[in-house]
Symmetry: C2
Subunit: 185 residues, 2 copies
């Protein structure tokens, strides 16, 4: 076609198509051609806008963490006190584990990359940092850290379990971790 026109949306559409493809078919099936077809752009656009698949993946997961951090912000930012924060955490866990399959899959893909390549760990660090900022508004730093890990585990197990646990169990776990005084054993 060669429109000769600058098209600033082109990059974004390619990135969106990349995330869709990864979510549906996995990193293993990502290729320039498949992304181009999905995005409705010519193959030549791929190398024109991105130096290679690696750069494309980094950008795509950058967009994804922006999105997922926004979800965290939406749920945790509104909480006014501890109890609201606890409820928000439970809502978040249930949203992430039974909401769009897309976010769940992309999260796992990102963790997989992060587990192997430090470059992607920057993204997960930022994500963890941002979620802790919210949690530390209501809980001390150690508790926030534990709670953050608990959110991760509950979300994953709930998403993968044959019979996902109910909201009551989520809330109980959150309450236990955020209860700072000593109980007997």
């Amino acid at each position: 076609m060669a429109t000769g026109h600058t098209d600033p949306q082109r990059r974004e559409r390619i990135i969106a198509a990349t995330l869709d493809l990864i979510a549906e078919e996995g990193i293993a099936r990502v290729s320039h051609r498949r992304i181009a077809t999905r995005a409705g752009v010519p193959l030549g656009s791929m190398t024109y806008h991105f130096s290679g698949i690696e750069e494309l993946l980094r950008e795509a997961f950058g967009r994804f963490t922006d999105h997922i951090v926004a979800v965290f912000d939406a749920y945790l930012g509104a909480a006014a006190d501890r109890d609201e924060a606890r409820a928000a955490v439970a809502d978040l866990v249930h949203e992430l584990s039974e909401g769009s399959q897309r976010d769940l899959v992309l999260t796992q893909e990102l963790y997989t990359l992060a587990a192997r390549e430090p470059a992607y760990r920057e993204l997960t660090h930022e994500w963890m940092r941002r979620s802790r900022v919210h949690l530390e508004k209501h809980f001390d730093p150690d508790t926030a850290r534990q709670l953050d890990a608990l959110i991760e585990g509950l979300t994953l197990h709930r998403a993968l379990a044959r019979e996902p646990h109910g909201r009551a169990l989520t809330l109980e776990a959150v309450a236990r971790v955020t209860t700072t005084d000593r109980g007997s054993h």
Copy 2:
């Protein structure tokens, strides 16, 4: 070469090479040829022993879960009472998060597959079931479920964190989740 001899170790070596390759380079870079080179077997062996990459992956991750469940058994099976169980859980979290990079990466790869394809979820179900069997020897079922999720989250966050938390924090989180009586908030 065509030795004409049955070689029962051949399959196992291929599976081991597959796991090594996945751990080091990721699912995206798995191919018959690369596995064959790594395993020191001719290309023709690949299709002779396995109907295709899919079957190979299923078998490989089956071996991996056998291994990882054995690690769970080793840590949790020996605990004689609640406090030993708590300590074992902490040991397990720290072993998984700072032990071999290999197990960590393979775990994430498996979760990624499980998040997208139900077939792989069978493997994670069995894994979760087995770990709960151990935990339920010392804790009630709801607590075991929460603790199992906590283990997952603590392990992952510890493995990916810029500054991993110490054992004290792990133990505190475990204690909180396994403390069954009510504390004030």
